[in-house]
Symmetry: D3
Subunit: 137 residues, 6 copies
Amino acid sequence: MIYITRRERFNAAHRLFRADFSDEQNKEVFGKCSNPNWHGHNYELFVTVKGEVNPETGFLTNLKLLSQLIKDRIIEKVDHKNINMEVAFMKDKFASTEVLAMSIWDELETGVQALGASLHCIKLHESENNFVEYFGN
Amino acid sequence: MIYITRRERFNAAHRLFRADFSDEQNKEVFGKCSNPNWHGHNYELFVTVKGEVNPETGFLTNLKLLSQLIKDRIIEKVDHKNINMEVAFMKDKFASTEVLAMSIWDELETGVQALGASLHCIKLHESENNFVEYFGN
Amino acid sequence: MIYITRRERFNAAHRLFRADFSDEQNKEVFGKCSNPNWHGHNYELFVTVKGEVNPETGFLTNLKLLSQLIKDRIIEKVDHKNINMEVAFMKDKFASTEVLAMSIWDELETGVQALGASLHCIKLHESENNFVEYFGN
Amino acid sequence: MIYITRRERFNAAHRLFRADFSDEQNKEVFGKCSNPNWHGHNYELFVTVKGEVNPETGFLTNLKLLSQLIKDRIIEKVDHKNINMEVAFMKDKFASTEVLAMSIWDELETGVQALGASLHCIKLHESENNFVEYFGN
Amino acid sequence: MIYITRRERFNAAHRLFRADFSDEQNKEVFGKCSNPNWHGHNYELFVTVKGEVNPETGFLTNLKLLSQLIKDRIIEKVDHKNINMEVAFMKDKFASTEVLAMSIWDELETGVQALGASLHCIKLHESENNFVEYFGN
Amino acid sequence: MIYITRRERFNAAHRLFRADFSDEQNKEVFGKCSNPNWHGHNYELFVTVKGEVNPETGFLTNLKLLSQLIKDRIIEKVDHKNINMEVAFMKDKFASTEVLAMSIWDELETGVQALGASLHCIKLHESENNFVEYFGN
């Protein structure tokens, strides 16, 4: 079993809030991340897949195809977007890093299998100091 | 003459556009950076000051005071904000990295002098691949 | 289950040695790290906690509170300190990166639980080339 | 149980190809990585070992000895070399990052045991965007 | 006057040597970089251009066009290539980082002018420890 | 004219203080950096030299010799040392990053000339947020 990780990046705006909260309540729970005028990040996404090395090629899966999959299913939909307003797979969800990572897992899982590998981990950096990891459930 | 640089960081939303352009015109000139729903970045700000080393202390200026100056005059005003809508010193300006760097220079210049140093350079990273530098005019 | 990591940093002096060894013996076992006049590092501390995402907020735990916990229980006690001489939770212990990581775990475990999460990993970088990870026992 | 990681680096040339394929077939399967005139990388190698902290020294194993082991068995043999042509432990194997990581594991496993630890993971970065991890079989 | 920098990356093989030297002489002058079987690097290229901010757009030059220029004139020609054998603009030159940086300057200078800016600096990283800068002559 | 930079690293303990000040006065002027029990850093040193490319070799100067010079004259004397107590070229000086950078310049200037180049800049990082640059006087 070998694990391969591909990094991709995107820039997006988001906001943490509940629609049923007042601005004051949102500020109390979500702090400055609840700013109604949005803020944003340079997100770093690390997608780790696992499987056996193919004895015909010496690699687990074609990294170019994995990169293309991540671009098609994720990056094109979130890069230079507003995560709360414009991303179909985040509709009616919290735009937190946690929920974003779990949603990216759901978007990629079958595509990774079609490449002959298994999705192992979604790691999502919101800043150099904060990141989340999700290994499926 | 010695040069000292302090790095500070902030996260913000912005948009590149002209109010007198249609969305199509803005997209043609500014590309995906013109998204009307905003996008954002983890900005890295490097402030370089210069001067003579104080023979009484062995340093040019107290870095803690320089850091506090940058926080008071810049970071508090831009962090987790919308640069187009909420930052007084960017009012009626383009929210480009170039104009943002030049405006940060104007906000910091007198404060750096009050610390006994001269402002030398504002370097502003928008991403790991893009940054601007401004040395005053 | 989701994993969230917060990075904090501190600068400290330390020394690897045994009081019952001569300087020569210490040098033989601990090399230049045994210098009786101390040396130091910029430590990077990564604290990973795990748990379920709160359906009311979309996050596992308030990262601001996690950051404050790490600052209160660890950073304030070790930053700009001598780890061998001044850190109560390292008293009578080796000031190695291994022991420091394990001791940081002990200092943080209950506080993380009070935030509604479980401590998963303490990762401590001593330099860009060396780091340790501890997952509890 | 504690985990310690040592990073070492090397620069090397390589090529992905099958000798029984034509250049066109190799290009189709391996892309630009199949260039018959070679290309190269700055590889970053992270070797993670695990074990119990020695109560006599406060460390798991002497990191200087671990670094020397990696240099003797790996770095000297691959640094500034052509991985396909000049590395004995890669003879008749694909020069992919996956196979290279697995082969490095085989070269280091007994040496790590001789240091009183167990090999846990070989992580090999080919670029800032791609890396593999191998945990043995 | 404002300065903007764009980073691009490429992987390539190269060798330092003189055709009129024996392998022994080449090894004496160029060390392990003279390996006749090649070695390689992940090069990082930073292209800095300067000029006035356009009052109609708020930027110096369209970074997307600058990035495309660098890709067309440099990256396509050097990425996953052998610098000594396959790069037309390096023909009959030493494949040193110094000469490569100077040659990249010559390839980009007119293209940058066509974008309404002036080329200021080519910075080329061969590794995390070594880089060269060229400001024209 | 071409500029080449070599990075080297060292770990050291230091303290900012004046012997003629009380501990309280030192704390007021130098803050937590005045801790009488020392603290320390992973310093990153960037040495930039300049000159003409040698038409016989394609390089400015042999980087291996430059690296060796920095190791002999600087790294061996400061690595794993106490800068205030043990470094001859810092005797009776403030152990500030500014003064350390200027002193490193004095130690390297003639040696760089002997390699056929001119010293251009000493850049010294004390942390990821603070660095100084010195260009001679």
